[in-house]
Symmetry: D2
Subunit: 229 residues, 4 copies
């Protein structure tokens, strides 16, 4: 199952473990009774656990994704993992490397009508979309810059410069598409969603978060609803 | 699937995510090719990764267990998790509590021929089994002590002492059976096995480790073989 | 610096790193200015960070404790670490082991006026103190049980039973005093305090939490005030 | 204390907690004796712990750094933290963000004699330095590319494009200088050094690792010597 995101990216659900019941059964270990189908009292328990911040049972269900996204999105995703306040260590991450040539270099190029203005009264984030005039020029300039930079990059490779150092010529590295596997618990997914579907999150990572969210709701409808703020 | 351990305990495999292929595919994210069945070159890759300590791909497969074991085993298990040198944070743990009365109190009672001697020349561990004479007396003394202590415990509960404090009367708390859910990655499983199937580990936890090991080999034969020292 | 807790326990502050300023300076890395004394705007920043759950800067200051406490307190402390919802992985823990004989065996013995009743309308916790009549009998019974059990334990050791197995005879293992080093971040300390100074926490661990709290307030007055709920 | 690295970067030691003795005392908690100066037997204990992979005592000493480095170095540093086999969760990381304008944009520019060739027979890494002819041209091309790209970036900002999106015009983002605070345990430092002072590590991150190493040796001479492979 794959959902397309932005112009060239995607989120693919690779695997999952458990269901809403995994939360219930791990929470009820104290009571030595495992449930096999989700009753009303189980749904209430899930809501109670989430509301009262007893979220350890949500670490007994896991999800695995393959993601293809611009580097700037990958960086924000990572920051949530190692910099977040609730730091969920239950995370595995394996990413392609640009230290060696592996696959075609691709860039995220915002479309002409997708360039956003600076927000008013805020240090970060975006305001409304800019007009098509600016947008046309911005997309064109970016394409030109990438074309010119990639000529330098190709020149560097042809002249024997090591790939790991030739990277300095990659002309729009924040837009460079990278690919990684991410495995985390349901709590990790929910925490990511609470941060990255927020209005303050950058548009591009929100687009990825929405894809993750729809997979999560599909597999763990009660638990995700309970965990999302 | 459940395996009985010691006189009253067990390990139950609750769930798993992935297979040997999960290791291969997360490691090969750099190369953008997912494999669907395990070829010889995939087996070689798994061995190479394990041998060279590139073990992050082994965190993309997970296992979940329910365990019923004496408290002294639970404590050693935990120490591996928070005290170990390779500290795998990819772990969820939910355990029953003795702060409230939940289920019958049970104790681990070594059989008459299962009492072990002090090791020679070592600070910890066990030597050979002791003779049946000592063993008979030891088992009998333990049963008597438990009977007498449980009378005190029952007296305390009947006289209104809070359960959380009445616990002080539990007469062989190191042998008290506790139950928990444990979810971890394949790397976490392997690390636990490398520590706890070792000769230096206490007999009781080795018995649990062997049960975990047989489940792990069954589900991830190539990866576990590669990770075990 | 050491604070006595319960009848035989203590919390000792071994070491710390940083001050309230560490929080400010790590949060302001974006702005490339380190402050050397705490101004009003710095105090405001600390409150803002805590209130908005931007708590990663609170992981750049650390505290180290040596603790001597009953096993039941050690277990609750651990559960906060591996089972808590905010799971702070920034924790090191080294504890003495009862697999080998190291130091005198000591037990926590509640005083005659310190036995508590079951709470009404709650599954766990304690109600008011019980009368001195029950208390006298409870303390006496516990002392007797310990004396009888320790005779069995000594018999086991004298007859060559391995220490790791002889532990089963320890007569009040939940009250057995254990000792450990705990190193964690300021965020870890605050999270522990928010859980363990709460009314729902068991009296015994609250006593330890109060000792930890007074050390924390002494060293990081602004940050701890901001983090405590 | 600050050490300059590459053309514009540095590593600054902000703070530390503990000494070689912290390792000894946390390991000896079992024996209830704290040492106040480092004796020969303490040095032996440190070596023994490191050699036998009993490294949890090394998590009771901490170091804090401020680092200013090219983005490609920051990315490799992060990968060690979340992707490494020994994953040390004892890490706090706070980094400046390019989502808002904070300080001058600076780039790492290799000097004319610092461009390296592709390695023979290896997928990644670098071989010998290339001749000065190629180097002169590479440095010049990079400077030109940066100048042209920064014109686009400035145009984007002037025309009201949001900073978070204008980043796409940053012309050599892998070389963009970023700044962060890193707090970790002694074990975390040693693990980073073992990976990043290795011949297979990229030259640029090795330069940072050497700076970290000299600070670590200065503060924890015995422990670091024991931990480095």
């Amino acid at each position: 199952m794959m959902k397309k995101v932005l112009d060239k990216g995607y989120v693919r659900l690779v695997d999952t473990m458990g269901s809403d019941l995994s939360v219930v059964n791990s929470a009820r270990v104290s009571f030595n009774k495992a449930t096999e189908s989700l009753r009303d009292e189980d749904k209430k328990l899930i809501k109670y656990l989430a509301k009262n911040d007893h979220t350890s049972p949500f670490r007994h269900a896991t999800m695995q994704f393959e993601i293809y996204a611009p580097l700037m999105v990958a960086r924000q995703w990572w920051k949530y993992i190692i910099g977040s306040s609730h730091q969920d260590p239950f995370t595995a991450w394996n990413e392609s490397s640009r230290r060696y040539v592996t696959e075609a270099i691709e860039f995220y190029i915002p479309e002409e009508n997708a360039w956003r203005s600076k927000p008013e009264n805020m240090k970060q984030g975006s305001g409304d979309n800019l007009g098509i005039e600016i947008g046309k020029e911005a997309t064109k300039k970016l394409l030109c810059q990438i074309e010119a930079g990639m000529k330098n990059y190709d020149w560097a490779i042809e002249n024997g410069i090591a790939t790991e150092q030739a990277r300095l010529f990659i002309p729009s590295a924040y837009g460079l598409m990278v690919r990684w596997y991410w495995t985390t618990s349901l709590q990790g997914v929910a925490h990511f969603l609470n941060q990255r579907t927020d209005d303050h999150a950058q548009f591009e990572i929100r687009a990825y978060a929405e894809a993750v969210k729809s997979f999560a709701i599909d597999k763990f409808p009660i638990a995700i609803e309970a965990l999302l703020i």
